[in-house]
Assembly symmetry: C3
Homo-oligomer: 182 residues x 3
């Protein structure tokens, strides 16, 4: 099982992990509070969520703050009602294709390098992992408060998401779950 991680691909993730692990999972739930929007944090968010779902765990990602940008359509320009939202809009281009790296961004060279590195080693990209997550039934919940702060509407978000919700819903979901703030 040690070697499985390096081979996570869209085609065989579910089958491979389920075979090995499903039987012994006692915890039934994983809740990830996806606060970060940078590539090197999105990766663990997605890899853990897809792995958990493939293991048969009930898995929910609650996307909040910078993490919410992972769910915004690539072609959406944030257009809040006022100049402040527009300033925020300028600083972050939404969508998984544009994710920076928390360390060593180097004018965009870092993320590109990391993605290539991952491709050569057959690790799925964040966008692919997002699709795998949906296919595996991971619940993806955008944070209502963050959406309101940034002037985002449901139609600005990618398809396949759960209804927006808040901290109370997340805490209810976290009852008896493994809960990670990433």
């Amino acid at each position: 099982m040690v070697a499985t991680e390096a081979e996570i691909t869209m085609e065989d993730l579910a089958q491979k992990l389920e075979t090995h692990e499903h039987a012994s999972a006692k915890h039934t739930k994983l809740v990830i509070i996806a606060w970060s929007g940078e590539l090197d944090k999105v990766w663990p968010q997605m890899i853990m969520a897809t792995t958990a779902a493939a293991m048969g765990m009930q898995t929910t990602i609650f996307f909040t703050f910078w993490g919410l940008f992972s769910l915004v359509k690539t072609d959406v320009g944030l257009t809040g009602d006022n100049w402040m939202q527009k300033m925020v809009a300028m600083m972050d281009r939404p969508g998984m294709e544009h994710l920076g790296l928390s360390k060593m961004n180097f004018a965009g060279a870092g993320p590109k390098m990391m993605k290539h590195l991952a491709k050569e080693h057959d690790v799925a990209s964040p966008v692919e992992l997002l699709e795998i997550a949906r296919d595996l039934g991971v619940r993806m919940v955008p944070c209502q408060m963050t959406m309101d702060l940034l002037g985002l509407k449901r139609e600005d978000m990618i398809d396949g998401l759960d209804d927006p919700a808040g901290a109370a819903t997340m805490l209810m979901e976290a009852q008896e779950a493994i809960t990670l703030f990433i």
Copy 2:
């Protein structure tokens, strides 16, 4: 319930959330290890703590490392016994009013913008949330080791805190709790 988050205010947080959620909470505890001192991390620390407390959960925030600065009185100059503590003192002005933002600080423009944005949308500021937390009975525990490292004394901290404690106390508190490192 989806809309409640955007309206968290001092006046009605407790009542609003309690009505909706209290009945079904099975986990009785939330422990937040508040390691970060930046505005965009302090917000989730405070929003989750106040929401949990309003839901009837026994809630503890353990403030450590950079997170400890949230509890230091605004007018306290850190005055350690030696030049090293003074260097640390120069780099961080304590108190919630001065919190930076982990991304896009822009000479202080980022946090100001974010606070205004929140105000327009009726989301409480970190200072207000700290007060709400105290009112709702959230236990706030400063990390003894960090206080020692920085030469801070009890009288340098805001009122209403629990006794300083360490990692062992925190881990005991985390038994059977939802535990988040933020």
Copy 3:
């Protein structure tokens, strides 16, 4: 017990904490996902792990992404098979002696200062804490996927580690544990 944290040293950590806390620990496990490699994050990773182990908790640290660098021998130059791994290699010098600080690095002055500060106050350094952790029986698991991405082999890592593993193993380990992503 409040004062114990400030005196964590190699000599007496285990005895001191065990006396105070062991009896009442209900949770038997702590799992730390050590994602960060910076000094101010490595410290809480190590302090919590050693404290938990000293309290009699079954403790596992899963080192992934930047966190993996804590386990790489100081004299190892990362030598991947291709130019991309070499670029990553240039940006991070592995080994605990070189850890930066997530805030205020100041050309290396920040970490040095922090270590001196800790030494004066009798708090163990990360390297010492790593040794304490091994002595106390903390399981230290390097992430297989990260090793593959960076072209690292077992002989590049320090001694006393568990077999490399992946997210599925970590999630199994996290069943009924306090789980922290740091």
